[in-house]
Symmetry: C2
Subunit: 343 residues, 2 copies
Amino acid sequence: MTTIREIAKMLGVSFSTVSAVINNRQYVSAAMRSRVEKALRDANYQPNSIARSLRLRESRTIGLIVPNLGDPFYSSLMRGAEDYLCSVGYRMIVAESREDWKRQQDYLTSFSGMITDGIILATCGATDEQIATLPDIVRGAPLVYVDRCPLESKGISVSVDNVQAASDATQYLIGLGHERIAIITGPLNVLNASERFKGYKSTLRVHGIPLDRTLVRAGDHTEDSGYWHGSELLGLANRPTAVLGCGLLITLGVLAAIREKRVACPQEISLIGFDDFAWSTLLSPALTMVRQPAAELGAAAAKAVLKRMREPDQNMVDKVLLPTQLMIRESTAPPAQRNPTPK
Amino acid sequence: MTTIREIAKMLGVSFSTVSAVINNRQYVSAAMRSRVEKALRDANYQPNSIARSLRLRESRTIGLIVPNLGDPFYSSLMRGAEDYLCSVGYRMIVAESREDWKRQQDYLTSFSGMITDGIILATCGATDEQIATLPDIVRGAPLVYVDRCPLESKGISVSVDNVQAASDATQYLIGLGHERIAIITGPLNVLNASERFKGYKSTLRVHGIPLDRTLVRAGDHTEDSGYWHGSELLGLANRPTAVLGCGLLITLGVLAAIREKRVACPQEISLIGFDDFAWSTLLSPALTMVRQPAAELGAAAAKAVLKRMREPDQNMVDKVLLPTQLMIRESTAPPAQRNPTPK
DNA sequence: TTGTATGCGTTATCAT
DNA sequence: ATGATAACGCATACAA
């Protein structure tokens, strides 16, 4: 690591002259400028970004924390965010909380300790007490929630209209003639999960279908969770005719269970998943899914942190909602048993 | 952001005393210690990690740069790396080069500017000239290559025995009776791609099968690339009976082409892919794949950087190779046309 | 036009 | 046991 002082010493000039060259101050003589520039090149000088951030109080990098980088939904989301950030001269670094509050907290404090200028967070599930400590953890660092925000979120969040999305999916299944519709939710202390559940419940109610508690399962956004709840659901004496998986991994787990038990999908059971991803159509069967505009969510969140950084109104609250789309494919069909009334 | 000085001022003590408490210096009186500690808690003090790294010349975080975070192979790899790093008290941040040298270089210089203590790099494709500039870019920062290393890599790398792996796959296809075996490689200026191609060629040669240039395609690790090369191969008058996709995304692209053209797999065409991933069995057909131990690769790379940091021998060269495994599933079968000689 | 001094928030050495 | 001071590498206001 060559420093600005070393360069200056080599040239026999003051280090502030070197600094002036680097920062394009106008009043450096042309001769001096080119001498310094040459030395800079020769020594392969790169400014020490740590020292720079300390002095300038900015790093021009944004931190993104997601629960699971193995989930294609977050891959797309982060790509959308990074594309936007790069286009406006920012860098992005990402960390994975692994659905673990401890780890999330660790990265949060690390990021908020001036490593990043702002934070985009898709939170892991958390208790109310944990959530309450969030402000203390980020200590005023610009933060926006994306996709998943805590139940009691004040600040800024960008997500999808989850109750509408879940309602659409449920509605579609009911339209196909389903009445025994199971749901596997994410952790209910996260807003998107509770909203999806709400959309499901209300749509059922509107159609006069009673809520059957044996058909609602709280999962945890892992494939395993989908697999186990799916297996149990399939093993039920009075098996559901359709299941709604409130997350990509959960849904893939359900699909694994369905295939393992050799239950015909969609003939014997319909499956709708959340999030969608690039390879949905390559699965067997191709999955009907609620598509979230993942990249757009990421970009919107990125835009939002940047805005939040410029307007440090601590109490600003803003929720941006993006539309979803039901991608109808091969995993849904009218139920087999009763006479279907397909829409 | 409360600073050490502010705490000191509030307490009317010297800031170096506060620092002494924070850093557990022994010679602080119990009374003073508890007074300071209370103030620290009350103010929700967190050390400024930037200032800390500047002073200590270490950040206890490792940077990982991958070409594509949407590739499940890298998701697993990074998880393996992070698990290991966390277990020994390090953090990990990741950046995505998007197969773009410019972006990779940017993150590389950023990371090497003291933001991270070490770097794990799965490089994007690059020209020899670009590779030659790498040492200047990282400026002595501890670096290890993982999965993908440049053709002329001196340093340390951890990967899989790619020639062996490609050879195994080719061998298996030949054993099934295939002779017209196509290959879609990654960028050939990256070692793993060229090695896989080498393994393919040599195995063909050993069995006296001439290399047909129309069957070898250089792809670029995108699904699109797999899709287009796959489509062309399927459109050939003398169509191959098997194809070897040298990357997960490439292989999924080929599968998309196969399904779109409604070619029966494996009856009319066999497909083997590289990398494997969690949902291979949910695809239709379930894909036969060369499994790389992705998480182990990540962990080994993490271990290697840490070691490299302790032993700053600039010229150390070390290649650790992990074994692969051929996961035989439903996408491979003897060729239809001629009389198969299944092994 | 160039050089000197100061501070960003730490940690660490040395006086007191 | 506590406090003053320097240093990490940089940027900048101000003096020369």
